[in-house]
């Protein structure tokens, strides 16, 4: 009488297996990115995403089911997933993708639109495409993936954008330690949500969250209207963290962080030391953001008697958004949640020791760290004096750190003065951020006293892990009975892995160390470029007073953040020579005759035309350079992908074997059960 499952569940599930198989192709996000793709052999590039979508025809407006494949920055569509002939393609460069908010009558129509960037939202353009997914989730996946493909740091997209890129982009507006979105959310919640029950736990209004997300992604940085539901803002905040292509705790450190939690108790200081070490290893932007979040969450829990969000609760709801494993399989995630909660609890409650204020990184840190490279970066308009006087730039080189950080501070203060009218409310926070960065890493040990609680936690972990390891595979009531079923199951898992693999790739992975450092370098150059910008109004004035004959070239306002070191260098070099020549001859002219003024005017014109040419050339070089970079990046991504594939394959094989074992034991169990079936 120990029958656990009536035999007939099998029959129940048989047609269901069909359904699953069918839906495999219907749910691209989950499984269909398996090995079979149209044309996959003919393209080197692995599809970033594939799946069925309905496409609205441009004239008749009826819907047609097509199989879509996103490869590179082009969305191809096919008649079906076996067909190799491309029916059409949608180039994504220069387009935007938007979810079309469905009205209640059209519930169940999950539409999104790909249209040219400058398109007026109300008008329907010839070359815009309306697509429909099967579910909300699926649509979001598509939109996210497409955005990621199109997303360049200069587009202002926030969600799904790398943290470093967002910080970099936003330096254009002001100096920010964390993304503006995060600041805005925190400020709003601080004002409206500290005594709200279940803040950060309860979800907000989905459609509003989406509206805000779209607004931020469109480059806006709106403030939340005061009547906004504070839970919506909290949800937006969590969504941002979740959608970071690489989480706040980078994947490379995920396991290390989790391991810390196992050793965090009073008797064992190693966990604490590990944690400090890991935190010190975080990239500066991530460090700042984590520190900022923890400080705020600490503030929130001070009110826990009212808002009922204790440290543990906050750790539960925020931690999972900050610590995410690279491979998102539900079971490892569920297993990780307890450790994550424990770890986050510690980080939040001990944020003062873990993120001492003395270690706050001023927003300009990438520049400060940049050392000699930095002095090579022409400071746009500031460069007039500096670039002309070689000795000065040499001293710059020699003095390095101190001088640089000082000058960096100068710059910001100038910047804030010049930009005072715009960002007057930011001044307070600016002065806070400008605190000098100290390089010493305090190796302070902190006492940690919550033994009882910790022990409790460990016990609980044990219990729950048990749940996962023992119970889960037995839970598969359906698929264990026959060979065919067995295959389906393992296939499922394999395809799931495949999918994870793809999603990994989409996140353009910083898995590869060398790639990572590349990225960092580029970022630094950006830093240099941006850092100089706010100052431009000021030096212009100075220059005018001393050398009235020459107007300095302001850094082209259109400088994109893609700007690279090399073109900049050649630019300044060329400029220097040209300018020097002009100046020398100018001096001669002045000595020679009184008519000088007249001539200088003509020279001035020449100068400016030369400068114009220079700029043109410069932008060309930039473009080429950009292409080169993209090409390189693509290469690296491909390499990474190949590696990931191999790893995933191995992992899948291993899991397959394990599963086989489990299934065999289960089958034998089941057979026993059948013998004693009641009926």
């Amino acid at each position: 009488m120990s029958l656990k499952l009536p035999r007939n569940w099998d029959f129940n599930l048989r047609p269901d297996a069909n359904k699953i198989a069918r839906s495999k192709s219907m749910m691209p996000a989950e499984s269909s990115s398996g090995p079979v793709h149209p044309g996959s052999a003919s393209h080197l590039e692995r599809p970033l995403k594939t799946g069925w979508l309905k496409k609205q025809r441009s004239i008749v407006k009826n819907w047609q089911m097509k199989f879509f494949v996103l490869r590179g920055s082009i969305l191809y569509y096919y008649k079906d997933d076996k067909d190799t002939a491309i029916q059409g393609s949608i180039p994504l460069q220069g387009t935007q993708v938007n979810e079309l908010l469905s009205n209640p009558d059209e519930a169940g129509k999950f539409q999104f639109e790909i249209s040219p960037v400058n398109a007026d939202r109300d008008r329907v353009y010839q070359d815009s495409h309306v697509l429909m997914a099967n579910s909300q989730n699926e649509m979001e996946e598509w939109v996210k993936t497409i955005r990621r493909v199109m997303g360049t740091p200069s587009s202002g997209v926030v969600f799904g954008q790398r943290l470093a890129d967002t910080i970099l982009y936003e330096q254009k507006f002001e100096q920010h330690q964390v993304p503006i979105l995060v600041e805005k959310c925190v400020e709003f919640i601080r004002e409206h949500g500290l005594s709200e029950e279940g803040i950060f736990r309860l979800p907000g209004q989905d459609n509003q969250v989406k509206q805000f997300r779209d607004a931020f992604d469109a480059g806006e940085r709106p403030s939340f209207p005061s009547e906004t539901d504070v839970h919506t803002v909290a949800s937006l905040f969590k969504l941002y963290l979740r959608e970071l292509p690489e989480p706040v705790i980078p994947w490379s450190q995920y396991d290390d962080f989790l391991n810390c939690s196992q050793h965090l108790n009073v008797t064992d200081m190693t966990g604490w030391e590990h944690l400090e070490k890991q935190i010190a290893l975080l990239p500066p932007e991530n460090y700042s953001l984590l520190s900022y979040i923890c400080r705020f969450l600490y503030e929130v829990q001070l009110n826990s008697s009212v808002n009922k969000m204790s440290v543990e609760n906050l750790a539960t709801v925020i931690g999972v958004n900050i610590l995410r494993p690279r491979v998102e399989d539900p079971f490892s995630i569920m297993k990780g949640t307890l450790q994550i909660q424990k770890l986050m609890t510690v980080i939040i409650s001990h944020h003062k020791e873990l993120f001492p204020k003395s270690k706050d990184i001023p927003p300009l840190s990438p520049v400060v760290k940049n050392d000699n490279k930095k002095s090579n970066v022409p400071r746009s308009s500031v460069g007039w004096d500096v670039a002309e006087d070689p000795t000065q730039s040499v001293t710059n080189n020699v003095k390095e750190g101190q001088v640089l950080s000082e000058s960096a501070e100068d710059l910001t203060s100038c910047g804030s003065a010049a930009w005072g009218e715009r960002g007057n409310d930011e001044k307070g926070s600016l002065s806070f951020k400008l605190r000098k960065r100290t390089q010493t890493l305090p190796s302070r040990r902190c006492t940690f006293s919550s033994q009882g609680e910790e022990n409790g936690c460990t016990e609980a972990t044990g219990k729950r892990v048990g749940v996962f390891s023992n119970d889960f595979w037995n839970l598969e009531p359906s698929s264990a009975s026959s060979e065919a079923d067995k295959n389906t199951l393992s296939e499922d898992i394999f395809s799931a892995l495949q999918w994870q693999n793809v999603s990994k790739c989409q996140r353009s992975s910083v898995l590869n160390k060398s790639f990572h450092s590349d990225g960092a370098e580029v970022r630094r150059h950006y830093g240099g470029t941006w850092e100089a910008q706010p100052k431009s109004p000021q030096p212009k004035m100075e220059n005018k007073s001393t050398t009235p004959n020459l107007t300095p070239v302001p850094s082209s306002p259109s400088t994109t953040s893609r700007e690279l070191l090399i073109p900049k260098l050649s630019d300044s070099g060329g400029n220097n020579i040209a300018r020097k020549d002009m100046r020398r001859s100018l001096h001669a002219e002045e000595l020679d005759t009184e008519k000088g003024e007249c001539k200088t005017a003509s020279y001035e014109i020449q100068v400016s035309s030369l400068q114009k040419k220079n700029q043109e050339l410069c932008s060309k070089v930039e473009e080429l350079e950009k292409e080169l970079m993209q090409e390189k990046q693509r290469n690296k991504e491909l390499e990474i992908r190949i590696r990931n594939m191999e790893a995933a394959h191995k992992e899948a094989e291993r899991q397959n074997q394990e599963l086989d074992k489990v299934l065999q034991s289960f089958t034998s169990q089941k057979l026993k059960g059948r013998v004693t079936m009641p009926i």
């Binding site: 009488m1 120990s2 029958l3 656990k4 499952l5 009536p6 035999r7 007939n8 569940w9 029959f11 129940n12 599930l13 048989r14 047609p15 269901d16 069909n18 359904k19 069918r22 839906s23 749910m27 519930a107 169940g108 099967n134 579910s135 909300q136 989730n137 029950e197 279940g198 736990r201 309860l202 979800p203 209004q205 989905d206 839970h231 969504l239 979740r242 969000m309 204790s310 543990e312 609760n313 539960t316 709801v317 999972v320 958004n321 998102e328 539900p330 079971f331 995630i333 569920m334 297993k335 949640t337 307890l338 909660q341 729950r464 839970l475 598969e476 009531p477 359906s478 009641p678 009926i679």
Partner: protein
């Protein structure tokens, strides 16, 4: 009764937005107590309870009841887990879909949960019971009973106004769900006595044919 001594192991899964009261609902059901602690569920958890089920259907077998071991899975409602908990849907035979009567948003999200269920559960029309929880908080109520009833009717699922605090309707909701499951199983069992040929067509026929045969069709047994 020793551990393995039961006739059926049935797995239910509670789902819904975070903070609607899934954990307290299940706690009220298994322990008949109200846990007023405000604790966010970490990941996934489960509670268990033994019940005896007596078939009372028209053609039901009277006599001794079936001993049921109920396993009630509790999922974290956090947004982060929404896409993850779906992985657990497939293992569950019945679903308790909860929303908070004092939160309109949680009610609106019922649609999303339903579509998730239809996509990821073991079949397209799994057994679901909709529960509007926190009905004791009458002064904070934000969802009308008629609205909820209407939605439940649209989906063809039973609806209960429950209170994990007072215990109102909690066990009724679970019992109705259990009843649905047992009925479904009985139908399966009945059909298994039908001659081979018919069984074949039921068990392996295309979904088109099955969808024609009314509500019990799709999950053909």
């Amino acid at each position: 009764m020793s551990d393995g001594d039961y006739d059926y192991l049935i797995k239910f899964l509670a789902l819904g937005d975070s903070g609607v009261g899934k954990t307290t609902f299940l706690y009220q059901y298994t322990d008949a107590k109200f846990n007023s602690k405000f604790i966010t569920t970490v990941g996934i958890d489960f509670r268990e309870k033994r019940v005896v089920y007596k078939s009372n259907g028209p053609g039901g077998v009277s006599g001794r009841g079936q001993r049921i071991h109920l396993q009630l899975w509790d999922t974290a409602g956090q947004e982060r887990f929404r896409s993850l908990t779906t992985a657990f849907f497939r293992d569950a035979m019945g679903f308790l879909l909860l929303f908070d009567l004092t939160s309109e948003q949680s009610f609106l999200n019922v649609r999303n949960w339903m579509s998730q269920l239809q996509m990821h559960a073991y079949c397209e029309n799994p057994d679901i019971v909709l529960c509007g929880n926190k009905c004791d908080l009458t002064d904070q109520r934000a969802v009308k009973e008629e609205e909820a009833k209407e939605l439940a009717d649209k989906y063809g699922i039973p609806y209960f106004e429950t209170s994990a605090s007072s215990g109102q309707n909690v066990s009724q909701a679970v019992e109705v769900l259990l009843d649905l499951i047992m009925k479904r199983m009985e139908r399966c069992v009945d059909k298994s006595w039908i001659p081979e040929g018919v069984m074949q067509s039921n068990g392996h026929s295309s979904t088109e044919q099955l969808s024609n045969s009314k509500d019990q069709g799709k999950c053909s047994c």
